[in-house]
Symmetry: C2
Subunit: 209 residues, 2 copies
DNA sequence: TTAATTTAAACAAACGTTTAATTAACTTTT
DNA sequence: AAAAGTTAATTAAACGTTTGTTTAAATTAA
C-alpha cells in the first residue's frame, strides 16, 4: 500500500483518537474532523473503520523492525552493549510513539480483530527471534550465562516500559513531579528507566541464580 | 453499596464482556442477555452503563487491598520472604482476576472516565504506601540496600506480570506450548514468573549497583 | 395496599457506510 | 495549445442499524 498525504493525515488523526478514547470509543466522524477531510473519504480510502486500523498497524510496523535489525547488526559492540542499546531502543520507541503503543497494548488485551492479532503475533515473533540471536551470540562469546528465558526477559522489558509510559500520569502524581514540564518529565523517566533496566538485565544475563 | 444477587450477576457478566470486547465495544443488551436479566434492569440498578463500570471497580477493589494488608502484617516472616509473598500475591491476583485486570489495564491507558481514574489512583497510592513500608522495614533491618526506587520496582512487578498474563496466547504460540491444557499452562506460567521475579527482586533489593 | 421488581415497547441520538452529484486532475485527441 | 474525454477526489445528504436510556404497564413481595 502506498501512503498518500491524505491517507497519512487520516491515519495519524485516527491514531491519536484511538489512543485517547479507544477504537470503539471513537466515531469515524471525529476522525474525519480531526484529519480535516470529509467523512466519506475514510470509506473511500480504507474501505472501513476497521481496515483503517489495520492500515495504521502496517504503516507503523514497517519502520519499527528495520531500525532494530540495523542496530543489532552493529559488529563494533559487545553483546552487553547491544542489549543496553536494545533497552534504550524500546524506551524511545514507547516514548516517541506512545499513541500507537497504547493502541497495540489495547489490541493485545483481546483477540477480537483477528487480522490485527496476526500482525502483532508476527511482529512479536520476529522481534523475539532477533533478540534470541543476540543472546545466543553473547552466550557463545561467554559474556552471558546459559539458560536464559527469553520470553520472560522480554516480558520484563516490554512490560516495565509499557506500564510506566502508559501510566505516566499516575507516576507523576504519586511522586509529586507535577512541577516538571512534559519534556523534563520525559527525560527524567527515560534516565531512570534506562538505568533500572540495564541493572536488571545485567543480573538476568550474567548473575548465576 | 450493597450487592444483591442480581447486581452481582450483572456486574460479573459485564466484567467478562468488557474484558473481551472493551467497554465501548460491549452493548448493554449483551450484558443483560449474559446476566439473564431484562435490559432495563441495568439502568434500574446502576443508573447507567458507566456507573455499572464504576460499581464493578468498587466491588473488586474492596477485597483486593484487605488481602494485601493482612499479608504484609505477618510478623513471622523476614522482609525478603514478605516481598516474595507479595510477588506471588500479584501473580495470583492477575491470574485469578484476569478479566478485571484487563479492564483496569485498559482504563489506565486513557484518562477518559474520571471517576474511575481517581479510583485507580487511590488504589495505586495505597498499594505503593504498603510496599514502601515493607521496604523501609527491610532497610531498617539491614536486609535491603538503600536507594530503592519503589515506583520503578512496582512498574517491573506489575508490568511484567500484567504483560505476560494478558498476552498469554502469544506466549503460548511463540513457545509451542499449545499442547498444555489451560490449567497446566497457568501453573507453568506461574512457576516461571514467580522464579523470575523473585530473582529480579533479590537483585533490586540486595545487590549494590 | 404499598412498594419494589420486572417487562416489552418506544425514544431520540449516534453509529458506520453508501449514494449520487459535483469538482478537480490528468490524458488523449484535435 | 485548446477542447474533449476520462478517471480520481470530494462533497452533502441519506441509509438502515445499533446505541443507551426511558416509559408506562404488569407482576411480585412485603
Amino acid at each position: 500500500m502506498e501512503y498518500s498525504e491524505k491517507k497519512v493525515q487520516i491515519m495519524e488523526a485516527a491514531e491519536q483518537l484511538f489512543a485517547e478514547k479507544s477504537f470503539d470509543g471513537t466515531p469515524v466522524r471525529d476522525i474525519a474532523d480531526k484529519a480535516g477531510v470529509n467523512l466519506a473519504m475514510i470509506s473511500y480510502y480504507f474501505g472501513s473503520k476497521e481496515k483503517l486500523l489495520e492500515a495504521l498497524f502496517n504503516y507503523r510496523a514497517e519502520t519499527g523492525i528495520l531500525k532494530m535489525e540495523s542496530m543489532l547488526l552493529d559488529k563494533s559492540q559487545t553483546s552487553l552493549q547491544k542489549v543496553n542499546a536494545l533497552i534504550d531502543f524500546y524506551i524511545d520507541k514507547f516514548q516517541n510513539q506512545t499513541c500507537f503503543h497504547k493502541i497495540m497494548s489495547r489490541e493485545q488485551l483481546h483477540n477480537q480483530r483477528n487480522e490485527i492479532a496476526v500482525l502483532i503475533q508476527q511482529f512479536k515473533k520476529r522481534n523475539q527471534e532477533l533478540v534470541k540471536q543476540l543472546i545466543l551470540e553473547g552466550q557463545k562469546k561467554g559474556e552471558f550465562k546459559k539458560n536464559i528465558d527469553i520470553p520472560l526477559m522480554m516480558a520484563t522489558l516490554i512490560g516495565t516500559v509499557s506500564h510506566l509510559v502508559t501510566t505516566q500520569h499516575f507516576y507523576k502524581e504519586i511522586n509529586n513531579l507535577q512541577s516538571l514540564s512534559d519534556d523534563e518529565f520525559k527525560i527524567h523517566i527515560k534516565k531512570k528507566l534506562s538505568h533500572h533496566l540495564k541493572f536488571l538485565f545485567k543480573a538476568i544475563l550474567t548473575h548465576e541464580a
